[in-house]
Symmetry: C2
Amino acid sequence: MLYVIGLGLSDEKDITVKGLEAVKKSERVYLESYTSILMIPKERLASCDMEEFYGREVIVATRETVELESDDILRDAETKDISFLVVGDPLGATTHSDLLLRASDLGVPTTVIHNASILTALGSTGLQMYSFGQTLSLPFYTETWAPSSWYDRLEENLRVGMHTLILVDIKVREQSEENMARGRLIYEPPRFMSPYTAFQQFLRTEAERHPPVSEQESTDGTPPPETTPTLCHPDRTLALSLSRIGTPTQRIIAGTISELASLPEEEFGPPLHSVVIVGKRVHPLEVEFAGRWAVGGENGNWWKVAKEVYGVERESR
Amino acid sequence: MLYVIGLGLSDEKDITVKGLEAVKKSERVYLESYTSILMIPKERLASCDMEEFYGREVIVATRETVELESDDILRDAETKDISFLVVGDPLGATTHSDLLLRASDLGVPTTVIHNASILTALGSTGLQMYSFGQTLSLPFYTETWAPSSWYDRLEENLRVGMHTLILVDIKVREQSEENMARGRLIYEPPRFMSPYTAFQQFLRTEAERHPPVSEQESTDGTPPPETTPTLCHPDRTLALSLSRIGTPTQRIIAGTISELASLPEEEFGPPLHSVVIVGKRVHPLEVEFAGRWAVGGENGNWWKVAKEVYGVERESR
């Protein structure tokens, strides 16, 4: 039996009782170490803490192992129990469809043991999970490369009033161009995008897509070309930063995009982070709940924009 | 400390190790028994099995208890540990925002322990969770009441190519009109919508919104009024039924909506169920993975429609 087991969001004790029982009886235990929603520092997962708690040696599986040597992972799984551990929900971010399909081809029975993922844990914001549209991924921009197709997806969600979860980039096991060119398997230190960078990139793309009117004026005095009005003006759009969700140091900050973009980077603390853009079909209780973390507290722009732009009146409590 | 603890999807062993530790040290343990994603038969949850496993008496909390007597639940929680158990993820379906806000007002510290919910577990279908739009709820139609606003939401998702999870109706603790009129607290047996009913209701609303052309012809020979073409023709739209997801008897069936609507009700087995409508922005691997459960197997309409309507060519494996 191949058990594909979710580890949840924070530490080794977020495994389910059922998952732990499967691990303890497994012949081999693999830990998938490369998907982009890794919420636990690898050091800790791969540390003795984890192996001690699970009572099993844990083999760290890189992307190469899983994609190229999946038959090694599946060896003897027709008759023996093998566990494959994945941070979050095992079919959450990367579906690991390939491994499950390969097991199916080989006649290996499989059991998936689900767990929490960022997609459910973002309920901590007080926003209604059912009102989220598609989930976006925001890559690190470079000086010459700022792919903005995520912005089109965001507009699709905003047009129908949906909230948007934006997963921000994580670079693990990246090689420098030089090391890659020379074929050296030396990896750069991991990089985790902060909400600061995410909101700066947002402002950059927003300004490119919807330049301020003054910049649109041509030098010969002709009127600027018509552009569709922006759906997410930074001063008039509510957003949240989500840091270390599901862990004891979880931190949520709420405000307009402009307010959040002007916070110093260290305000958000260590990774992992993600970002939420609030859609227009928001409920007053959602505004109330998340407003407890508003920049500027009761006098923050959160409440002003909620009223003037989102049409939400505060309920008296 | 108020612990709000997710129980996951299947049975008492889906609680996390951390959640179990919190339960075992709690002074009182409540089980929230009314949200619409209850995936465990209440009888089992409330049974001695559960109390024995958790080592604690479990107090079943109805909607009335949670909404009207929340201060009872929170009594002494400033100094003692209280656990509030919720099936799935605790902030998944119903956010329980009110209870958490009330705790916050009373100065009671809270800890949320997340778990799997249908929103993550639907990764079992092989469909990419990030490509789901907003989640819909489909109510039981009656002879005189067939609210179809869910259909507008479905179209919003389909227009941008997103998949749609449809949560189907569950009636628990419903009173008959007579008992309600007489003020008798007698409840009807629980009712769970089957995929059969869900697809029949779909066909009814689809036919109302987009009547077949022949029915549009007026008797005096004038041409039918122009209607926008349907985005989800039953013969040309792929869908899935999801039954008992996350449990050992999990069953997924894939096909066109017409194919799924023509299956006998008993084919889907016992509750709980939900339904997925596949969006156009589908990836070949998603089609491949879910196609293993296609009505008619390799010769089913699944593959034909995937190719002709969704433009997905099968990869050779």
